[in-house]
Symmetry: none
Subunit: 221 residues, 2 copies
């Protein structure tokens, strides 16, 4: 069993190395966790002695197989709790992150598996991120960004790239929540903004390029 601090480092390392197989750097980890580089070095030594990471001084760090598995279990718990908070307790999806940061450290396989069952074994969380199963397995869906959708196409919102509170508040406010069916009606050459129709709300909304590049969608088939 790992401490809370260890779990947070494993999770951070997972997120920092998922798109960077060469490894994570001390300063980046420190920035990500809002701590100091020296603290990171200390923890990397500890995780290394526990065989959770492959670490050599000055050489960056990657998760070991064991470390990756542990990280995925924490991520699984985080995403399932977020789903629970939104689905069962009617939190908005921009409110759940901090609470899930605490709940993800509750130690009980049985508990999280029953939460999983209660929720109907969801594969994706409210942000559209995949939820690993009890063995750490998950499937990434090759979502497109709204930015890449041509005029006339109808798509379903299924996630976001930027999951900051400020962005979530924005899309909540304009009605682009997960599951919403939308249609791209126009693309303005001037600034690449889009006119989007939301049939369920009978509204239309103008969306900037910056927004459209952060909204993930699935093409309706």
């Amino acid at each position: 069993m790992n401490t809370l601090a260890e779990e947070n480092y494993l999770k951070a390392l997972y997120h920092l190395t998922v798109q960077a197989p060469e490894g994570a750097y001390t300063n980046d980890i420190a920035a990500y966790l809002q701590t100091k580089a020296s603290s990171v070095t200390d923890m990397l030594k500890k995780l290394s002695s526990k065989k959770l990471v492959h670490y050599k001084k000055y050489q960056g760090v990657i998760l070991s197989k064991k470390g990756k598995q542990k990280a995925l279990q924490v991520i699984r718990k985080h995403r399932l709790w977020e789903y629970f908070l939104v689905e069962k307790l009617n939190f908005r999806w921009d409110e759940v992150h901090e609470i899930a940061e605490q709940l993800e450290h509750i130690q009980s396989d049985e508990l999280i598996n029953r939460i999983d069952k209660l929720l109907g074994f969801p594969k994706y969380d409210p942000h559209g991120d995949p939820i690993p199963d009890a063995d750490g397995y998950f499937e990434e869906i090759p979502f497109l960004t709204l930015f890449a959708i041509p005029i006339g196409e109808t798509v379903t919102v299924c996630g976001v790239i930027d999951s900051s509170v400020s962005f979530l508040k924005l899309i909540e406010n304009i009605g682009l929540t997960i599951g919403t069916l939308i249609k791209v009606e126009e693309i303005f050459e001037f600034d690449h903004s889009l006119k989007i129709a939301i049939p369920s709300k009978k509204t239309k909304v103008l969306v900037s390029q910056q927004i459209s590049k952060n909204v993930l969608v699935k093409i309706k088939k």
Copy 2:
């Protein structure tokens, strides 16, 4: 905000002093928390400096008003989470304590209030222990649950523990409304269900354990 260790001491002090207004003793606290007397002394000093307890060297300790309030909030969370685990995730009562010991330290008033609402604002847990409300107020159970009544006894229904709509509909439907005189005719070992006679309606009804644990009764004198 208090640390996990502080919360555990406050809770322990509450339980140790609820029936002993003169105060708790260092060794008793140490035995209760499975720690050493010297550790207790250290923590009592800390809690005292935070005005959470009234403590004088060698003189025992009692909770301050503030400390009692904090303790009750932890107890509230513990009992609500236990109720949740049993009610929504189908854990048995003997399985929930350890998980609730972790969940009780999650810091979010909004979360526990929504859990409270989800459960129908229960006033007592199925052990008959009262659940403090958001202000720390609670009523000691003056009744027994139907579950605890032996064969042959005649009792009056005087309340429920689960006050959710679904449960109220159920007991309304089978006739176990407040004021009803009932007699326990049989207890089936198989699933601890009861056969109840309702003389006023000249009917008999089979009541599951889950139901009997949520019906409060007063023994007829």
